[in-house]
């Protein structure tokens, strides 16, 4: 507003008008829950967590400064740590690509404008709203080697099913299958993306005689690449925090085959009360996620197509 007649020269800093001061006060006031929340529930814990990671803090006794000992022990003297890291990397490497392919496949099927689209959409989405504890118990029963649903179905087609969660070789694949059952949320996000792809392009491609496969590779996937990138990063963040299902179903067994990173971290902190050690684990996790996210962004920059740019 240019109503002020006072020369702005008097102060070096541009002064706020009455309206601006008023807005600033209101803005801060309305945003105060987020500001306080950020300071108390995010900023302080992050800083405290760095500090704890350099101490031997446990609930039972006040810790003392141990420098890099926790990190040294983790990286050089804790074989279980590497096992859990491997398990988590396995879950990420297997689950994420399969989830993306399955969710995209379902979304593309639904996008064919067949009748009953919303009915099918509902069915594919249903598993994602089932509480994790309930679905964990259900799948524990489905994976029961003797009487479970999965081995029964395999038996019908003449296959002797494995021991699933009781067998170290099959426990992670079992968890992957269970994760795939829950891709419905991503399917809906992809479906929204697919509906934004300009129809004229498909029509033009069809006139040129393009087959389904060509349209998918040259139109759908480039247009969907921002969605795929977004889901990739969120899935990555999610899988590193994967906890409830293995905790309820296997408690990390058999022979540590499902002891994922977050499960080990929880055990360290709340069963063995090694809070300092667990904080160091949390920080390595955070760094790993940040580095991987940056890597994904950098390597995908040329491959992701943003419409309108």
């Amino acid at each position: 507003m240019a109503t002020t007649t006072t020369p702005a020269l008097r102060t070096a800093r541009p002064r706020l008008t009455r309206q601006q001061r008023h807005d600033l006060r209101n803005g801060l006031l309305f945003a105060s829950p987020a500001i306080i929340g950020f300071l108390v529930f995010i900023a302080y814990p992050i800083l405290a967590s760095i500090y704890y990671s350099f101490t031997s803090y446990s609930i039972l006794q006040p810790g003392h400064w141990v420098g890099l000992d926790n990190y040294r022990e983790l990286l050089t003297d804790d074989p279980v740590f590497y096992t859990t890291l491997e398990n988590t990397v396995y879950m990420a490497v297997v689950t994420i690509p399969l989830s993306i392919v399955l969710a995209m496949g379902l979304a593309m099927l639904l996008n064919l404008k067949v009748s009953g689209q919303s009915f099918y959409r509902t069915i594919f989405y249903l598993p994602t709203i089932v509480p994790f504890v309930a679905s964990s118990l259900l799948w524990l029963w489905i994976f029961n080697p003797q009487y479970g649903l999965l081995n029964t179905l395999l038996w019908y087609v003449g296959i002797q099913g494995p021991g699933w969660l009781g067998d170290p070789a099959w426990s992670k694949p079992a968890l992957v299958i269970m994760q795939l059952w829950g891709v419905g949320g991503w399917m809906i996000i992809y479906l929204a993306g697919l509906q934004d792809v300009p129809k004229e392009l498909y029509e033009a491609a069809e006139l040129d005689g393009a087959r389904w496969w060509h349209k998918t590779v040259h139109l759908t996937i480039p247009f969907m690449s921002p969605y795929i990138l977004y889901s990739l990063i969120l899935m990555l963040i999610g899988i590193f925090q994967y906890f409830t299902q293995p905790q309820v179903m296997t408690q990390g067994g058999p022979v540590d085959s499902t002891r994922v990173y977050a499960l080990y971290l929880y055990d360290m902190a709340f069963r063995f009360f090694r809070m300092g050690y667990a904080s160091a684990m949390a920080w390595l996790l955070f760094l790993l996620v940040v580095v991987l996210t940056i890597l994904i962004f950098k390597t995908s920059a040329r491959r992701v197509y943003y419409a309108g740019q």
């Binding site: 995010i42 814990p45 309930a134 118990l137 524990l140 809906i188 969120l234 904080s279 949390a282 955070f286």
Partner: protein
């Protein structure tokens, strides 16, 4: 002559190609329906297995090959399961957790979103960026210091550590509400301001009433998150009289791992309210997910 026959064959070709295109469309439709039906069955079978097990008499659960349809169907597992655990206590605790969290989230997120979307103040862009960035922070990083803070406050063993954070910073809800608030014409606020309304009155009387559907979405997602939460109750609740359904059910499994009938019955009871809530609010759900990219 040659020209005419050429033209004729060209038109015949076109006709044939159109017919084959039509045929292809029909085949495509049938194939996609077939694929959708099969996939739907795959996604639904676990639910059928759940309900079927929960209704089977004991003698039909651990048998091979399995009985698919309980004969006769019985609700004995529901009675056993719901009596084995203090179900009503767990339900009450869960509802307190869910209800207060929804309330806190709707109030705090709408206030913050209002500030970010409807008030011009320097720093709001920065604050928004910071709020979105917090989504990157794994819960495990803040878990231990927060636990120690709540411990020093003497809140361990109460629902407070679970509920109180919902009254402060909920990034997804803030994001969703902010996007919606930005679409409300600024003239509405200005008209109210000319009539002498202050900022809070504009928020309360103009913006909030228009946002009811989005507030419902935010409330629903919060309800689901808290109804499903397991890690929070596991860490903060040590007194069985305060257990939520998630925690209670998991403990029950830990102690009675072979009681599949009652386990499936209680799981069904835990899933049903969510399914009902979902069926009544499907549109809201789908819009919410599409808008924010949150998946449940």
């Amino acid at each position: 002559m040659a020209q005419i026959s050429n033209a004729q064959s060209a038109s015949a070709d076109r006709l044939a190609s159109r017919r084959s295109a039509d045929n292809r469309k029909i085949i495509e439709t049938i194939a996609s329906h077939a694929a959708l039906v099969v996939l739907s069955l795959v996604f639904l079978v676990p639910f059928l297995w759940l309900v079927s097990t929960s209704l089977k008499p004991d003698t039909q659960i651990l048998v091979f090959p399995p009985v698919w349809i309980p004969q006769p169907a019985t609700i004995q597992h529901y009675i056993v399961g719901l009596n084995y655990i203090p179900f009503l206590t767990y339900l009450k605790n869960t509802l307190i957790y869910c209800g207060l969290s929804v309330l806190g989230c709707v109030i705090s997120s709408s206030l913050v979103a209002y500030s970010l979307a409807r008030i011009r103040w320097m720093g709001r862009g920065l604050l928004f960026a910071v709020i979105i960035a917090t989504l990157m922070v794994p819960a495990q990083v803040t878990l231990i210091p927060l636990f120690l803070v709540f411990k020093n406050l003497g809140w361990i063993g109460s629902l407070k550590p679970l509920i109180v954070p919902y009254f402060f910073l909920q990034p997804f809800s803030i994001f969703l509400l902010r996007q919606f608030f930005m679409t409300i014409p600024i003239e509405l606020s200005e008209a109210a301001r000319i009539d002498g309304a202050n900022e809070f009155q504009i928020y309360r009387m103009v913006v909030m009433p228009l946002a009811t559907p989005v507030l419902a979405t935010v409330g629903l997602f919060t309800f689901l998150n808290t109804w499903n939460d397991y890690l929070g109750p596991l860490i903060y609740l040590n007194d069985p009289s305060l257990y939520t359904l998630s925690l209670g059910l998991a403990q029950f499994q830990g102690e009675h791992s072979v009681l599949w009938g009652p386990l499936m019955a209680v799981s069904t009871v835990m899933i049903v309210p969510v399914l009902i809530a979902f069926f009544f609010t499907q549109r809201t759900f789908v819009q919410g997910i599409t808008l924010t990219g949150i998946k449940g």
